[in-house]
Amino acid sequence: MTEPKKIMVLCNAVVGSKMASPGIRNFNMARILQQELPDAQVTLALPPKLPSDLDPNSVDFNVAWPSQRELLPLLASQDIIVTPKFPIKLLPFALDKKIVLDLYTPFFTEWMEMSKGDPSQRHRRAWLEPKRKNLIAQMAVSDLILCANERQRDLILGIMGTTGLISPRAYDADPTLERMIKLAPLGIRDHEPVRRKNILKGVHPGVKETDTVLLWNGTIVEWYDLDLLVRAVHKLSLERDDIKLFFMGTEHPDSFGAKPLQGMGGGATKAAMELARTLGILDTHVFFNFGWASNDETEQYLLEADMGVCTYFENLETRYSFRVRYLDQFWAELPFVCTRNDVVSEMVDDLTLGVAVPQGDLTALTDAIRKLATDRAFNDLCRANLRELRKLYTWERTLAPLVEFCRHPETRLMRRRERAIGIAVKSTDWMYSQTYYNVRYAIQAKAKEIMRKRRGDL
C-alpha cells in the first residue's frame, strides 16, 4: 500500500467565524481537497499569532498552528504545499516539494494601493522592492500557479516571461502554459441561503422594515471610493427618506491587535464617517457596524439587503481584482451597483447583474441606485441572472484545477537544477532589497521604539 498523499494549505490569514478573503479561500481549499481526495491527508496550517476560533473537530481535515520552529519539520513531511506565500527563507528546503502558488490576487497592485499614504516615496519603494522580489522568487519555485481571472494570468505571464521563468524547455512541454498557470477563481458559500429573523431591517436603529438597504458587504480599504458613495446617498436622501447605506464591518479581521479604526482601512473609514456627519446623514442614512460581522450575520445582511454596492477607482488594483465580496453577492443573488473597470463589472454589464458605473460619476451612481431601488422588475431580473451564474461558482468547480493537480502532480516543468539556480538567484536578489530595507528603516524604527520605551520607563 502506498502512503497517503500529504497536502498542506499554508495560510497566513485568520480562519474562523470571522474571516476575510484570504482566510475564506484557504479554508475552502483545505475543505475541497479533503472532500475530493479522501485518501489524502490534508492539513490547514494557520498562523499561531492570529486568534482563531476554528474548532479542529468540526472539520474533516487536520488543522495546525505551527510555530516558526515547528514549521520546517511540518513542511518537510508534506508532498504538496499550497500557499499564497511560501516562507522565503525555507525555500531551499522546498526543492523536492510540489508547490502550488495561489495568486488569487496579483498582490503587487494591492501593495501599491495600500502604501499610497506613505509620506516618503523612498521608504515606500524600499518597502515594495523586497516584497516584489519575494513574489518573483515564489514564482521561480512553483509547479502550478493559480489565479482568479484571465487578466491576472496575462499579468503573471508577463512577470514570468521577463524574469526568465519561462524557459524554452518549459514552453515546449506546455506551449499554452495552461499546465503552469491555471484559473481557479473564488467560490461561493457551500450551503443554500436561508433567510432567518431580520437583524437589520426594522431592528437596527434607524433602518425601517420598508427601507431600501444598500449593503457594503466587505472590508473598507484605502482603495475604495467611499466619498462618492456617501455623497450619492446624501443626494438621494434629499429626495426620499428610505435609502439607507449599511457598512457591514469596520475592522479588517486580518489587522488583529490594532486599536479600533487604527488597523487596515481605518483612515478611510474615519474619513467616510466624518463626511457623513458633515452632510448630516450619519446614523440616519449611513450606518457603520463597528467591528466585523460574523459569518452568520453576514449571511443575514446579504439576504436582507436590496443591493450590494462597491465603488472604487480605475487603477491597476481594480483592473486585476476579483473581489470576494462579489461572490457573496452571487450567492445571495444580491444585485450589483459597482464601478467599471474590473472583470466582474464587465459581467455585470454583459449578463445584467445590476448596474456598473464609471468612476467618480455621482449622477450615474445615484441613477443606478435609484433604478435598482424603484424598478422592481429590473431588480428581479438581476436576481434571476445571478441565480444562473451562481451555479458556475461553487468551490467544487472553481478549485477543480487544484484538485486535478493534487490528484496527478505532474513532473515539474523546471528541472531540479534550474529550480535550484532560480531559488539562489531570486532569493539573493530579495535578500539584497530586504537587507537594504532593514538597515535603512526597520532597524532604525526598532531603535527608536526601544529608546521611546526606555524614556517611558524613566
Partner: protein, 443 residues
Amino acid sequence: MASKAGKPAKRVLILCRAVFGPRMSSPGIRSRHMAEVLAEDLPEATVTLAVPQGSNIPNPELLPYKIEFFTLGKLLGLIWANDVIIANDYPPLAMAVFPWKTFVLDYYTIYYLEWMENTRDEMSSSPRKRSAWMAGARRRIGAELLYSDMLTCANDRQKDYYIGAMIGLGMIDPAAYDRDPGMHHLIEPIPHGIRPDPIEQPREPVLKGVYAGIKTTDKLIIWNGGILQWYDPLTLLRALAKVREHRDDVKLAFVGGAYPGLGSMGLGKRFQETIELAKELGLYNRSVFFDLTWVPYDKIKDYMVEADLAVCTYFNNLETHFSFRTRFVDVFWAELPLICTEGDVLADMVRERELGIVVPEEDVDAVAAAIEKLLGDREFYDATRLRVRENNKAMTWNVQFQPLVDFCRNPRSSALPKWKRSIMLAGAWSQWTVARAIGMFVR
C-alpha cells in the same frame, strides 16, 4: 526626459528598421500610417520617418512628413535631432547615449513568446543554442523595456502582459503610480488600423480569370499573409475538400508567402505541409492556388476586392491569445466576411459584432459549414458585409493612434525616472551583452 508634464514634442522621429517600400510587412505599414497620422494631427511638429538605406520611395518630397534614409552611423545624429523617438526595435546602445530623449517603444506583439515559437523549429537541432539565444533575446527585450518612456502595444491582453513585464523589471514607480494609477502614460494599446483608401474595382483582374482554374464566376476565398508555424491551413484544406463534394466553384488562394527581408520566413515546415496536403487531396492548382511573392501593399487591395470571403485558421494557443493579427485589417477594409479560429481578441470581435463566423480550432466540419453558410446564404452574406463596413469606422488609423498623438502633444511618462533606472539599465545591458556572446559560442 521622463518628466511630470512635458512640453509638446516639436520633432518626432519614427524609426522603421524593417523593409519599407511597396513590398512591406506590418512594421513598415504601421510606420507609414503612423507618420501620416502624426503629421496630420501634429501640424506644429516636424515628423520624420527614417527608413533603411535603399528603400524604394517614389516622390518623397510630396509626403506630408520628412523621409530620412538611415545607416547605423546616421542613426545617432537622427536621434540627436529629435525629441520623441518611436520605434519597435531599438539598438539599445543608441538609447543609452541620449538619456534625455523620450523613447516610445511600439511593441505590438509579445516578442518573447513569438520568438519562442519561431525558434522551436529553426533551432530544434540544438536546444542549448536555442536556450542561449532566447536568454539573449529576453535580455534584449528587458533592456528595451527599461529604456522606454512609453510602450504601445496592440490590445488589452498585451497591456496586461507588459504591465507584468514592467512589474518583473521593477519599472512601476510608486510616485508615478499615484499620478497615473491606470498607468496610461506607460502602456497603452494601439491596435492596427484600417487603411483610409476608398474601395475601387481593380483595373485588371489579379486572381479570377488570371489563374487557370479560377473562373470569374467562382467564389474566391482568400488566405491573406504567410503560412507561419502557428497557423493551421491544413484544417482549411480538409474543409475545402468537403465543400468541394457539393460545389466545385469554391476556390482558395494563399496570397503572400515569403516575408520581405526575412529570408525564408513563411516558407518553412508548415508551408511545405500545406503544399503536400493540397496535392494529396487533389486540390493543388485545381481548387487551391498559391501566390507566393509578397504582394505590394498597394496591390493587395485588388486581391481583397476580388475575393468573396477570407479565412484564417490557427491554433488556440498562447500566440493566438495575445495576438492582434494585422492580416485581418485589410480583410476588414475590403468589407469581407471573415472565418477565423477562436481565441484571439479579433475573433472575439468577429463573434460579438457578427463580422463573420468563428470556429473552434482544428474543427474541419465547422469550417466547412461556415464556408457553405456564408457562400450559400446571400442575405446573411450581405448583412455581414454591411456590419463589417459599419464596424470599420471605429477602426481607422486616425482613431487608433490617438493615444500616441496625445503622448506627443504632452509627453509625460509614468516610467521610473531615468536616473533611477540607470543601475538597472547598466545591469540589463551587460547581461544582454554576455548572453549574446554566449549565444554566439554555444553550438
